[in-house]
Amino acid sequence: MNKLMRLMGLVSGAMAAVMLAGCGERPQVMEYKQGKYQGKPDEAPYVAAPFNGNKDMWERDIRNRTQNQNEYRRIGT
């Protein structure tokens, strides 16, 4: 009888431990907001080196580079 009681105690203790483990579980489903981007944020292209946050310099560089595709500008008409 004593053995049975001890076994029952062990089983109920183990069950309580298993059930309590669920409380520490992290939610595996993301918080879903309809129609909103759910991924990681992305930084603007001018934030990192070599522009270091200088948006005007980046825009100027891109604009000049875009004009390299224009032969009329590059080699003259």
Binding site: Y32, K33, Q34, G35, K36, Y37, Q38, G39, K40, P41, D42, E43, A44, P45, Y46, V47, A48, P50, F51, W58, E59, D61, I62, R63, R65, T66, Q67, N68, Q69, N70, E71, Y72, T77
Partner: protein, 209 residues
């Protein structure tokens, strides 16, 4: 700065596939995935035309609208990008896209689809700029280096233009007015025309209006 756009001049494209190769090389694209393709209409018939097609970075992107996990976003520069960590490879975006831009690597022998891959306008993705993680998942981030997409910059005839929408529209407008044709394309006045610009040359008889 306006929105980043591609523009392919069908009068100039010679179907060399240089843009496709440049894209593959720059972004280390695996076999079976083509972020950019050259499409030829009336192939072999006199007057055939080719255009280079990839993601057009739509202002109202259908891929974005149908994605069940909302992994798409539009950057400040108007580039449509996605988070591969979130993508479930369902393929809805492929059905929604009118340009066939979303690509799916075949991950196994039984048609198992990998995560979606598409043209990023050489702008990487949602990882630290120019990091190894960004390169592995999305390819090179040329925009963060102050460069334009490799396909457009490598184009030998400059048929494929890439960059700020207003600037490339201006380049195309100058080109079409100088050579005297090209302005008969549909939507000319919407995309390239502007009231103060010199009048575009008249369309050839029998041409599109």
């Amino acid at each position: 700065m306006a929105r980043m756009k591609f523009l392919c001049d069908a009068e100039r494209c010679i179907e060399c596939n240089g843009c496709v190769t440049a894209c593959k090389q720059e972004n280390d694209i695996p076999w079976g995935v083509n972020r950019r393709r050259v499409v030829t209409i009336n192939d072999g018939v006199p007057g055939e035309r080719s255009i280079s097609v990839a993601c057009m970075h739509c202002s109202d992107a259908p891929c974005m609208a149908v994605c069940p996990v909302d992994c798409f976003y539009r950057s400040e520069e108007g580039v449509v990008l996605h988070d591969k960590d979130l993508c479930i490879g369902c393929g809805y975006c492929f059905y929604a896209c009118p340009f066939g831009a979303p690509q799916f690597p075949q991950a196994g022998a039984f048609g198992v689809r990998g995560k979606m891959d598409k043209c990023t306008f050489c702008a990487g993705g949602p990882e630290p700029d120019n990091s190894e993680a960004e390169y592995k998942k999305y390819g090179r981030n040329r925009l963060a280096e102050g460069k334009l997409p490799a396909c457009a910059e490598m184009c030998s005839t400059k048929a494929l233009l890439g960059g700020d929408g207003d600037t490339i529209a201006e380049i195309y407008r100058q080109r079409a007015t100088t050579r005297g044709k090209g302005s008969e394309v549909w939507g000319w006045s919407t995309a390239y025309g502007r009231p103060e610009a010199p009048k575009a040359p008249a369309a050839a008889p029998g041409g599109k209006s």
